[in-house]
């Protein structure tokens, strides 16, 4: 059971969110075909598109939920569930692949398992493989919480990961 204050806070949060969705929608209202830009704005703010927000957006924009879900599930950038605290994106583009990105990915997964085994919070960090982040010249490349690292070897990978997760 939630206490009344907790409930009030939650409702405030919901109301605040609703307002923000309306603001974002209005900001783009004069622009035709703004759905993707709006979803980007929501992603930036919340890290995902909660169902309630999609609903609010649907009403605000007059765009059917069906369309919003079609779009969210089509584009890799949008998601329906919250992100974990940290994300590592391992580039699996051609250049990185040829230069051993596979091994990096395995290493990271191993490291994270190890961390969880030794008490770190489950799911603190999610791993995604992405296709080319535009640093092919510096393959293999990874992005850890918006910070790009190029020419990463296994050893450096371990170090970077440790430092960032410890932060």
């Amino acid at each position: 059971m939630r206490t009344d204050t907790e409930l009030d806070n939650l409702l405030d949060w919901v109301e605040g969110m609703r307002k923000r969705v309306r603001e974002i929608a209005q900001e783009w209202e004069s622009e035709e075909g703004n759905l993707i830009m709006i979803l980007h704005a929501i992603e930036n703010e919340l890290g995902y598109v909660p169902r309630g927000v999609a609903n609010e957006l649907s009403q605000e924009l007059g765009v059917p939920m069906a369309r919003i879900y079609e779009v969210i599930t089509f584009y890799h950038y949008f998601r329906l569930a919250p992100r974990s605290k940290h994300t590592v994106k391992v580039c699996m583009g051609t250049a990185c692949y040829l230069k051993g990105a596979n091994a990096l990915l395995e290493e990271i997964e191993q490291q994270l398992e190890l961390r969880e085994a030794t008490g770190a919070q489950k799911g603190e960090c999610s791993v995604e493989s992405v296709r080319c982040i535009g640093c092919c010249g510096m393959a293999p490349a990874i992005v850890l919480d918006d910070e790009t690292h190029g020419r990463v070897c296994l050893k450096a990978m371990k170090e970077i990961l440790k430092q960032q997760l410890e932060k």
Binding site: R51, A54, P64, M65, A66, Y69, E70, T73
Partner: protein
């Protein structure tokens, strides 16, 4: 003035063809006697270009265009069939099969499935690809239709139908690549979605991925129970479509054979929904006269006999609830008088009276329990609805040879109908029937013989507007069919209301399905504009063949008011024949 059509001349398999500009290669080939295989293109819909089966070769072009989505251009030299094309088409079918369960024997489409037919034709004999089948359980949340996701081939016909033709947006395509799948909007149960149960998705699906909720077994069981007194009603549009399942040309009127076959199936009494259509008109026309002539109630009056439409309105146009006719649909009116008046008269215990309806429609399955008013008899007024397609299957199961059925009459008093009742089954029909009787109510006389057919309200245009002269008073009417078309009409009503102007129309007829019930979601598969036209013609012919063509002239109707109901909009009529509407949420989740 008709604009001069520009013609294009081209060659298909060496034969010169001349067709109007804008004709697809597919259509042009068909006209010259060549069928190009298709799976995603439905004659009723814009091409989705999803399957690739219809590719053809064009001399001098490297790429092979899709015949369904490419217009024939002047001078094209096209090959539609050769060994290479056949090989490519067979590979496509093999690919589709690799993601499709081979469950034909237990499938709702066994025997009339487009995929199955093509597989048969192309003779894909070896299963050289490993299967990859969607592991999502079927959605049985809706009373009207069942979605079997595993069988979906992603042709997107249903999505296009639901979004563009119906503007409901209950279905969508989610995800991408091999994970692309059709799902109810927002990936929830269909029953929680904005679905209005029209069944148009099922009618357009080439496979067994969306089918009506099959209730034949329930009917067999009801018939088999000796305690039951089973009666049945058959809707206007069923009579001109059922024959297609038994080899009759579309539009053949088989009313009397249907009565006979229903009796042989075991129904104790056979009623005709056309009778209650006449009853609906009595109530609805009276309502109209009240509102139009006596200023009691909102104008325009909007018809409400299509449950998919009422659902749509309750979800999307709630501000117009007051404009709705409160008269129940013919199905429900028949149900309630069968279980009250008829039961009483025949001394049947209404608790044992099972009323089955044969409808062109999947939404009617939902209407049975729509609100409390559907139980006005004290029992569920109509118990089970079968669609035309289900009836056809049931007849086949029964072993009855439909073509050998004699011609019989329906049971009195709920079986007699006029030409006005029968045209309910087509777009514009309710309006025409209501105007015939409304004219009589206002002027006290029938429309003259040569004006009884109100042609301005007829046709297949998505929205039709007309002005009908009632002895000097103009009645402005609009007719919309295909759910997406209604929004335009309602927008005009709303605009006028907001700017304080007189409503643009006095009376609006809306049918969710294209063509009205003749194009219903439960009708035999494979409709195209031509089949719709033939079914429509069948109903208009039935009207022309009727001795009586106005609902108020129906002697059985006069009798039921005399014996039982009193008068239109009277106390008993209100109690049994009318309903209420309420605002509903589009999403229950």
């Amino acid at each position: 003035m008709i604009a001069q059509e520009t013609m294009v001349t081209a060659k298909i398999n060496g034969i010169t063809v001349r067709v109007p500009e804008g004709t697809s290669i597919l259509a042009a080939a068909y006209q010259s006697g060549i069928r190009i295989p298709t799976l995603c293109k439905h004659p009723d819909l814009m091409p989705t270009a999803a399957c690739g089966l219809c590719i053809v070769k064009v001399a001098g072009e490297g790429k092979m265009p899709r015949a369904c989505a490419t217009d024939l251009r002047d001078g094209m030299d096209i090959i539609t069939h050769d060994s290479e094309l056949t090989r490519v088409r067979r590979t496509i079918l093999e690919l589709i099969l690799s993601t499709h369960p081979s469950d034909c024997l237990t499938c709702g489409r066994n025997g009339n499935c487009e995929l199955q037919t093509l597989m048969g034709e192309f003779g894909c004999r070896d299963d050289r690809l490993e299967k990859h089948i969607r592991d999502i359980p079927p959605d049985r949340s809706s009373h009207s239709i069942v979605i079997d996701f595993a069988k979906c081939i992603n042709c997107a016909r249903c999505v296009q139908t639901c979004q563009e033709v119906q503007n409901v947006w209950a279905l969508s395509m989610l995800n991408r690549s091999i994970d692309t799948r059709m799902a109810p909007a927002g990936d929830i149960a269909l029953a929680d979605s904005p679905c209005i149960k029209c069944g148009q998705c099922a009618a357009h699906c080439p496979t067994g991925a969306i089918v009506e909720n099959d209730q034949i077994t329930d009917v067999w069981e009801a018939l088999g129970n000796p305690d039951n007194y089973c009666t049945v009603q058959v809707a206007p549009s069923v009579r001109v479509a059922l024959g297609e399942e038994f080899g009759y040309p579309p539009g053949t009127n088989l009313t009397r054979k249907i009565y006979a076959v229903l009796r042989r199936l075991g129904f104790k009494a056979v009623f005709d929904t056309n009778f209650s259509a006449d009853l609906t008109i009595m109530e609805e026309a009276s309502e109209f006269v009240e509102r139009f002539a006596h200023g009691k109630g909102a104008l325009p009056l909007i018809t409400s006999c299509c449950p998919a439409w009422t659902d749509y309105m309750e979800k999307k146009h709630q501000d117009l609830i007051d404009n709705f006719s409160t008269a129940k649909s013919p199905q429900q009116m028949l149900g309630v008088v069968a279980k009250t008046y008829y039961s009483e008269k025949m001394g049947i215990d209404p608790a044992k009276h099972v009323q089955v309806s044969i409808m062109p429609c999947t939404a009617k399955k939902y209407e049975l329990e729509r609100t409390n008013e559907m139980f006005a008899s004290g029992y569920q007024d109509v118990d089970i609805t079968l669609t035309t397609r289900e009836l056809a299957r049931m007849i086949k199961q029964s072993g009855l040879l439909f073509s050998e059925m004699p011609e019989e009459e329906a049971d009195s008093v709920l079986g007699e109908y006029t030409g006005a009742g029968t045209i309910f089954g087509t777009t514009g029909g309710v309006m025409e029937a209501a105007l015939r009787t409304g004219y009589y109510f206002v002027t006290g006389e029938n429309l003259p013989e040569d004006a009884i057919e109100i042609t301005p309200v007829r046709g297949m245009e998505g929205v039709r507007e007309a002005e009908i002269d009632v002895k000097g008073t103009a009645i402005r009417v609009a007719i919309a069919h295909g759910m997406a078309n209604v929004d335009k009409v309602l927008e005009k009503v709303r605009d006028a209301r907001e700017s304080g102007q007189e409503p643009p129309y006095h009376f609006i007829e809306v049918m969710a399905c294209r063509g009205g019930c003749i194009g219903g979601g439960g009708q035999p598969y494979g409709v195209n504009p031509n089949i719709l036209r033939l079914r429509m013609e069948g109903l208009y012919q039935d009207d022309r063949d009727s001795a009586l063509r106005c609902s108020h002239e129906n002697p059985s109707i006069q009798k039921i008011y005399e014996d039982f109901l009193g008068e239109p909009l009277g106390e008993k009529s209100e109690q049994l024949l009318h309903t209420r509407y309420q605002a509903r949420k589009q999403y229950l989740r």
